[in-house]
Amino acid sequence: MSRRSMFWARAGVALALFALAAPASAIPAFARKYGTSCLTCHTVYPKLTPFGEAFRRNGYRFPGVDSDYVKQETVALGQEANKKTFPDSVWPGSIPGSLPVAIGANGFLRVHPDKTASTPRAGNGTQFTFDDLVGEMQLWAGAALDDTITLWGEATFASDGAGIEHAQMLFNDLVGPKHAVNLYVGRGFPNIGSFGPHSSYIADQMVPNAPVAAVYGLSEDPFMLVENYNGVEVAGVVAGRAAYNFGVNQGKSSGFASEDWYGHLGFKLGGMRLDGEGSTGAEDPLHPWAENAVTLDLFAYHANEHFPDPNAPDALFANNVSFTVGGAVRAQYGSAELDLGYYHQTHNHLSPTLDAEGATVLGEVKADVLYGELSYVVFPWMVPALRVESISLSPAGGTGVTDWHIMPGVAFLIRPNLKVVVVGNFESADGFPVDASGSPLKWQGGSADWGSFVMAPRPTALPATKQQNLESVAIMAAWAL
């Protein structure tokens, strides 16, 4: 296998691992803790209802006094009265009476109606593949030490390896009004929106990723907006209607000083408050997902990533600095929901270009990512949705190219903790990014491994060749208990 082939194989594995690793949110440990159904917080999991979003935003705590709602036995590690004897005694806490863990699995079957599409071409022309039917297993943990400190963790096990996806300590209600100032420490998603990262019915995440450094063949582990990083985040909800997050993390700068930071502001009009206070459930118990509301989000993200510079003879590390600004809106009208989002990303060292002396150097690339998802909860167990997303890349001095991905699908709940999603994947590109030699490169990124950007140029394709593919019809299944 050539070095180039080896690289793409590794990059493929890395991206597949990323995509597989992302599904998390549905955690039956909480169902056991509160003695409540998954449907209290979810529709077709991991999509959250307004109440579930408030629970997540509150640091995995019910509005009001969280412990009032806990039905599971707890073991006291001290008593409330010990607060009076502090510092002569340890500040009291408790642990769940049984291990607060849950397990789950997911995978998908892919059908390729067109054997000449990108994915079947990469897979020996196969028309059906069960390769990913058992994609991964997950182990989740979620618990409270008291009414303010909570823990959240997720480990994944796949044939390619295991990893810690999340491990966070959430210190809630630190100062000021309830929910105003919270501190999250550990490994987790940077919150760049008011909603959970997995708030899509037919994709794995709402905000698509643009792994630009991988597209240009520079990194097997590229920076992406929606990924797990080690860091700290301050988050809060003010007056029930405004949400904020800002944080710093290590990003993709392992071994280097991190300079990654981000911030988000959100505002919700109508519907349930962002912190769920004043309500112990949905306004309409028959339609707990439904409300009339509009939520606006803005965010900025500054990131660094390091990778060997292909143009440096001694393989010095190149430092690509990216800056992203974006926004999103979620409009809900009863059972209908429309999510729209956009972000603009500038990378300073990514695309191969020639400097004044004719040497190949890494130049600037601008990425523009658009996405939208329209869904309607027909029944609590059936949600059709249409999702559209695009990535545009504009290298300095080069030609801009765009790839569109259209995903019509239906999400089904077979049981509250067993789901099936059927989704079609259509892709249309007006060209391809190019490498240092001017050869077209494949597209990468998106929002789900069962429906990501996979468009690869045909052997005869030129960088400006337009190409459309019905990539696949995927049937994704997942369970959790």
């Binding site: 006094v65 039905k71 073991v75 006291a76 590690l77 008593q79 009265a81 010990n82 004897t85």
Partner: protein, 198 residues
């Protein structure tokens, strides 16, 4: 002239009537009802009591055991001036202390030993064990003996309350309840239901 037998019968009737009236007066009345607690898991830590009843009450002695690493009972209702004997029937050392009100620490004591404390002030005293922080009990010390812990269904009954008007209150370790004015009549039961919540 009255028949002697009828006279005896009349006297007997009057005597029985007087005795019954006297007994009713001594018994006083009863306040009973149900407490609805939300969330219900905090029900067992609920006491209904009269806030102030004039009188002096004979001190009594009660016992709380420490058994299987638990205080038994979990909640005890006593009257100020009463003494509680804390026993240890575990084969491990226990300690009893309370940070509430005047606070006290009875030290550590071994199996089959005990320590006593006399509660001279009304209030609620959390009972803790410094050796086993998970152990918890409450001693509710009333100003008067007219107090009752609720049963598992939330029912309570305060008996032998002297006739009169009082403030009925409810204590819960986590929640708040209302106060109500009640008037007690000898030999009768007043029903008062209470709602306790956050």
């Amino acid at each position: 002239m009255i028949d002697p037998a009828r006279r005896v019968a009349r006297l007997a009737f009057v005597a029985v009537a007087c005795a019954l009236a006297s007994a009713a007066s001594a018994q006083g009345g009863t306040i009973a009802g149900k407490v609805e607690v939300t969330p219900p898991k905090y029900l067992e830590e609920t006491v209904v009591y009269l806030k102030s009843v004039a009188g002096t009450y004979k001190p009594q002695t009660h016992a709380i055991d420490q058994k299987a690493m638990k205080f038994v009972p979990h909640l005890m209702v006593v009257t100020q001036g009463d003494t509680v004997k804390f026993e240890n029937h575990d084969n491990v050392v226990h300690n009893v202390y309370s940070p509430d009100n005047e606070g006290y620490n009875l030290g550590s004591f071994k199996q089959n030993e005990n320590r006593s404390y006399t509660f001279s002030k009304a209030g609620v005293y959390t009972q803790l064990c410094s050796v086993h922080p998970e152990m918890l009990a409450y001693v509710f010390v009333g100003q008067n003996p007219y107090a009752a812990a609720v049963d598992k269904k939330g029912h309570y009954s305060i008996k032998n309350v002297p006739p009169g008007s009082y403030q009925l209150a409810v204590w819960n370790a986590h929640l708040k309840g209302p106060e109500k004015s009640v008037t007690v009549t000898a030999g009768k039961t007043v029903e008062e239901n209470l709602v306790v919540k956050r």
